[in-house]
């Protein structure tokens, strides 16, 4: 059966998806609608004769001919209305919108389930890495016990530039912006919120557990003192912004924070804008998936892979909402810390409690610190 598509949004990802749709000979689908914010900007768009361009998303989403709605406008207000409307109509929805899936994934999946539609979001986590399908299908027979990942390319680019090129934080950020790896306002990338959204989505998928930004209380790389990078270099540690989650006896430990990794840690050599996710599971053991975490064409591939699954009628993953697991912050556990301050010599502490760290800090307000973990939690 031919699928009729509505494509909403022609930003970086939307444009890449549009280009690929146009380049593909596809008897299986027809692009009926392209929805944009400003008509004028897209008047030269090489539209197929069967495709209509509009600024009114209602026309596209409510069109009874449309089977698949591809939401690539981002944000959580209009995008949520669009996805909700489409799912209420029993349509199939593909989105790359991590903010939306992280904050409303439960209710949207329920909508998809209740109305016979579907909600696919391979592109929402780690752009070009097929981690969602791998979890939903390839690792489905397995029992996943924990994940650990580098989920924000901007942060990782900056950390790599600081540690491998010796740049300052500000210079590294500027270089990232010049090279298109950081947005004009990179706040959510640098303060850990972007990585947290992705972790929230993965935790829901893997552990069927709700997790909130408030619970995670993420730490980004924007508060790291320059001193800590010198200490890390001294001890040959790589500082990475790591998102981790582990289920232990019904308690979900999850956090997003910088970690000082030993060189042999599987994530220590992941540099630049590359994302990586290590999955620990009972049968497979440890498996790691690396690839580009962003970028138009890479993310478009994930969108199109979801579309092909719809076309093959191969997508049956409306994960039910479940009650939240008991949550605990890993940072409340004892950890080794990499520390240094004006009066505190550079060192890796033995595992100490957060209270003990607070004592260090009280004695030396200049103290720079980061959790020093060579292994996953």
């Amino acid at each position: 059966m031919k699928k009729h598509l509505a494509l909403l949004g022609l930003g970086t990802i939307g444009q890449a998806v549009f280009n690929e749709l146009l380049a593909t000979i596809a008897p299986d689908w027809q692009l009926d609608w392209v929805v944009v914010k400003h008509l004028k900007r897209h008047l030269g768009l090489p539209l197929p004769t069967t495709t209509r361009l509009t600024t009114d998303w209602h026309r596209a989403v409510n069109d009874p001919q449309v089977d698949v709605v591809i939401e690539l406008i981002g944000g959580t207000t209009v995008a949520k209305k669009i996805v909700t409307t489409a799912l209420q109509l029993g349509k199939q929805v593909i989105t790359a919108n991590k903010d939306l899936i992280a904050t409303s994934g439960n209710e949207l999946s329920r909508l998809a389930h209740d109305n016979g539609g579907a909600l696919a979001y391979e592109a929402a986590v780690a752009g070009g890495i097929p981690i969602i399908r791998t979890i939903q299908e390839s690792l489905a027979p397995d029992h996943i016990t924990g994940i650990s990942g580098i989920l924000n390319g901007t942060s990782n680019y900056i950390l790599t530039a600081i540690q491998n090129q010796g740049l300052t934080y500000q210079a590294a950020l500027k270089q990232a912006q010049i090279n298109g790896y950081a947005e004009a306002n990179p706040t959510k990338d640098l303060n850990g919120i972007d990585a947290s959204y992705k972790l929230i989505i993965l935790v829901r998928l893997i552990f069927r557990s709700r997790l909130t930004l408030q619970q995670l209380s993420p730490q980004g790389i924007d508060q790291l003192s320059p001193r800590i990078f010198n200490v890390a270099n001294h001890f040959q540690r790589q500082i990475k912004l790591v998102a981790q989650a582990q289920m232990v006896n019904g308690t979900l430990y999850a956090g997003v924070y910088p970690l000082a990794l030993t060189p042999t840690h599987p994530l220590a050599q992941v540099n630049g804008v590359t994302n990586a996710i290590t999955v620990d599971s009972d049968l497979v053991g440890s498996s790691t998936y690396l690839g580009p975490g962003a970028g138009g064409p890479a993310t478009a591939n994930s969108v199109l892979a979801d579309l092909q699954a719809f076309i093959r009628n191969d997508y049956h993953h409306n994960n039910p909402c479940l009650p939240a697991a008991h949550f605990a912050s890993p940072l409340n556990q004892p950890h080794a810390y990499l520390i240094a301050g004006k009066t505190t010599p550079a060192q890796i502490t033995p595992p100490i409690t957060p209270q003990a760290l607070a004592t260090y800090q009280a004695n030396d307000p200049t103290l720079a610190w980061v959790v020093a973990e060579s292994e996953r939690l």
Copy 2:
């Protein structure tokens, strides 16, 4: 619809699959048959009441009740008869048998296609890494241009032990055997044939091209001179047995051989029995998949993921046979070589032709050499 299963073989993988099937509450399937070589060895097997144990595979495979045949006996004679019979009957077949898929994958896929059955073999390449599904589904919208992988865990374990622990080849092999990472007869692992079979399967899947062992003419690690490891250490190169394939203007370049990799090469840090595959593609760019290449539980997960796809009715990949692409050996291209001999000083040559290398060898019969490649082909 409930699937009726026949499980053939209770070796390492078969036993792990059996254990998982028994541990799973599954309204979706029923294990009707277990086929073993020696009944006596399995008399204590905790069989479900609905399961019959036999040494006669015909009874199981010809049973009209049986929908899915799981072939885990290995080899290419009886296994081929079993798979052929099952596919001729229109049944769905799951196999972990790389030798069989590498040598007969084309005709077996055609049988599956012509009789309305299916042939799934996630477990046949890189055991626990879901590379087959990733290629068939997640990267389906993309255009893959090349792959490069460490596909033999035994070889990689030995190379790691030689280079990181300073063992001799013989001591490393013995350690691998003691730890269960090398078979009593490890010939096919060490001479590159095992990695070649996996590459042949991947090439068929990715490039729809037939490739033979004869074309590949693989080099393993069993001919490497001790001298070359000293030279590699001197130049900080990691020697890895790499399987590579690339399609350039309709010509398939493919080979299996040891490469001396720079430390920053994505495969250089893959140690021990871990397998890894890097995929280069137009949309995603570079993505890498790491995990255990063997082992009962890890491989069982791949078998069971195929089974779940059958149960969801999600498996639609009977790749048609295509004519072979024009083949060329990458080793006929100029390469830099890592070389050393009694009269030849240790060095990394500039890119030279195979003829130039032969001249070096003629002048110094003690010459040890390996292709020195920091980048993929």
